[in-house]
């Protein structure tokens, strides 16, 4: 069945289809309509779940952590400051190996106050141990939430699904809604590996001395790396069930490209439009969209970008005092000890919801093709007012 729904409705629909049992969420713009819709589903009985109306995002994640530890499928959603408030528990939940799934509606972090889209909220949580997906369409949002549960419950690692604030969260698109029976086949009831059992008491997450701590962290690290291969398997199975295939990265006209633009989220759509236009002029330009950011698909990205002469990364999040966040990761994928690769340049734009215009992306391509290293700074800003 096809329906015209927003990105936030796609999230709520997926959570309903996933038969989540415990949800806790706190309202924050532009996530709020996810929490509203889910609480309505729970009230009406459309979804047989407990919706817990907590007093903060910190408590939202603490609550779903408790429920997940008790062995049920859980979900939460947030944005921006809310995600930042969860920070402590992001580390805790991944260390506790809880397969919580969260939707984060991308929004800038203050100060100053801003409610519009950029990727600084979720990219600044990159080291928390959560797996991360960035979506480009409402269909992809719905499908990725379902994939996220399968993946999280396979590698016992929490997964965050990102959708651009307003651009996806509040924009309606035609979305194919899967049949519940189909989803049940793809995503059977959650089978915890270890859950609190009053009849079989265990202590969880007790103080762990230097003698044991590193092994816990190494296993967590391995699980997150292993998630790359598992994500490919889960996506293949998803394609078999539903006919829609999602790779970890999506390349567009990259095969013979001399210049490749790298982007994440909805800006990739604008990027593809620019690539098509430049191709009409005979320019050999391509685009690579990073869909999975954690684990970062290093090899896949190196293979796809390795043949290009130059790479231009479009960053919607910065690390002040360093560089754009996506840029750091892409460069890390391209360059290893003793290796060589294309020239790579960093461009920052679209912060706090500033529209990413096709002209900015054209400017990026012009600059890297003509300017080369000499004409460009370490970090280059696009669309700044002078």
């Amino acid at each position: 069945m096809k329906a015209l729904i927003t990105g936030n409705e796609a999230v709520s629909t997926a959570v309903k289809l996933a038969r989540v049992e415990v949800i806790a969420a706190y309202p924050i713009t532009p996530q709020t309509s996810i929490a509203e819709k889910l609480s309505q589903y729970c009230s009406s009985g459309e979804l047989d779940a407990d919706f817990i109306k907590v007093e903060s995002e910190h408590s939202a994640l603490a609550t779903v952590m408790g429920a997940s530890s008790a062995g049920v499928r859980t979900f939460t959603a947030t944005s921006s400051q809310g995600l930042a408030l969860m920070h402590e528990l992001l580390h805790w939940s991944s260390g506790a190996r809880l397969p919580v799934v969260m939707a984060n509606v991308n929004r800038a972090l203050g100060a100053p106050w801003n409610i519009w889209c950029d990727h600084s909220d979720s990219l600044s949580q990159r080291d928390t141990g959560w797996l991360q997906f960035y979506c480009e369409s409402c269909q992809e949002v719905l499908d990725t939430v379902l994939i996220a549960f399968r993946l999280a419950e396979s590698v016992f690692t929490p997964v965050m699904v990102m959708l651009d604030g307003y651009i996806l969260s509040h924009t309606a698109e035609p979305v194919e809604i899967p049949e519940p029976e189909q989803v049940d086949r793809f995503l059977p009831k959650y089978q915890p590996l270890a859950a609190i059992d009053p009849k079989d008491p265990h202590t969880y997450h007790a103080v762990t001395s230097p003698e044991y701590f590193m092994e816990f962290k190494q296993r967590q690290f391995e699980a997150a790396r292993q998630a790359e291969a598992v994500a490919r398997e889960v996506s293949a199975d998803f394609a078999k069930q539903f006919g829609r295939h999602y790779a970890l990265t999506e390349s567009f006209m990259c095969e013979d490209a001399e210049t490749i633009i790298v982007a994440a989220g909805t800006s990739a759509g604008t990027g593809r439009y620019v690539v098509r236009r430049l191709r009409e002029q005979g320019r050999r330009v391509g685009l690579l969209r990073v869909r999975m950011f954690r684990p970062f698909p290093f090899e896949e990205i190196r293979t796809l970008l390795g043949g290009a002469a130059r790479v231009a990364v479009l960053d919607q999040a910065i690390s002040p005092g360093s560089e754009g966040v996506l840029f750091q990761e892409v460069r890390s994928a391209l360059y290893q000890a003793g290796g060589s690769g294309p020239e790579i340049y960093d461009f920052v734009t679209g912060l706090g919801g500033r529209d990413i215009l096709p002209s900015y992306i054209e400017e990026m391509v012009e600059k890297v093709e003509n300017g080369g290293k000499a004409g460009l700074a370490r970090v280059n800003w696009l669309g700044l007012k002078s």
Partner: protein, 303 residues
């Protein structure tokens, strides 16, 4: 081994097997926390799951891979005792565990201070769980820093000599009662029958329950470990820590103390109060008398 030793050993092993909490715990000598834990778990016949935030209790249970508890324990970050407990509650209820009491087990720092927001929220929603604060009146796990539960004019490392705590102890029971919580009570390890009775009442009550257990800390109170019970008993006998309960935020039941002892008897046994002048002690006595008369006025029943 003589027959007598053998039978004592068998007795001890039987005891350790049956005890829900004890063997090998890491508490300091004279600590009230493991005593409170034993009484509470025994009162609940071990039909409980504990959620413990950062506090002495998160150390006392033991370091991985050891544990002193025979009930499940879930450790959680500092501000999350209440909210994590409610997650466990909903998860376990959905999995069919209807009779297990979910307990948030936190110190006064995790209750009066950093965890108060989450506690307030869960109680406002009247979640069906039991919140227990073992109250040792300061951040003892980090080495004796003042909390909002630290009493007036007590010494701590952050209320040092010359700058003893100026504010009185926060009244947590009144805060909980203002939420119209079905059951809130003050107890102490020195009166185990009263503590057990209160825990059983809490179990029999649906919705949110809160029990504050005054829990002596020889390390932080600077007292002799063998005096812990005596000191907690004096806390009650001097009216410093009255034993009472509030039902649904309205009906207050107070245990009477017809012949109160002077507060000095309580204070003089504790190094944390050793810097007090006669005037300070008089001031504390006035405060204690004032609080006691307010409580008696509010009491619907004095037993």
């Amino acid at each position: 081994m003589s027959e007598k030793t053998e039978s004592a050993r068998a007795e001890l092993l039987k005891y350790l097997k049956e005890e829900p909490f004890g063997c090998g715990n890491l508490a300091c000598p004279g600590c009230g926390e493991p005593l409170a834990m034993r009484e509470v778990l025994n009162a609940l016949e071990s039909q409980a799951v504990l959620v413990i935030p950062a506090c002495c209790g998160s150390i006392i249970d033991g370091l991985f891979p050891y544990t002193s508890a025979r009930v499940p324990i879930l450790h959680t970050p500092f501000a999350s005792a209440a909210s994590t407990s409610c997650g466990v509650l909903h998860g376990l209820r959905r999995r069919g565990f209807k009779n297990t009491t979910i307990i948030a087990w936190a110190g006064d720092g995790g209750t009066y201070d950093i965890g108060l927001q989450a506690l307030s929220s869960t109680v406002e929603r009247n979640e069906d769980y039991l919140y227990i604060c073992y109250d040792n009146e300061a951040y003892m796990n980090t080495g004796i820093q003042r909390s909002s539960s630290t009493p007036l004019l007590a010494w701590t490392t952050t209320t040092p000599e010359g700058d003893l705590k100026k504010a009185p102890k926060k009244n947590i029971i009144e805060i909980l009662a203002a939420h119209r919580i079905p059951y809130a009570a003050a107890a102490t390890v020195a009166y185990p029958e009263d503590l057990v009775a209160k825990i059983r009442k809490a179990r029999a009550t649906s919705g949110s329950k809160f029990v504050n257990i005054l829990s002596p800390c020889p390390t932080g109170w600077q007292t002799r470990p063998d005096l812990s019970i005596k000191i907690s008993r004096l806390a009650v006998k001097t009216n410093v820590y009255p034993l009472y309960e509030v039902h649904h935020g309205e009906r207050l039941v107070l245990i009477d103390n017809p012949e109160p002892r002077p507060v000095e008897e309580y204070l003089k046994l504790q190094g944390r109060f050793s810097r007090l002048s006669a005037t300070d002690i008089r001031h504390i006595q006035e405060q204690v008398d004032h609080n006691w008369s307010l409580l008696r006025k509010k009491a619907d029943e004095i037993i």
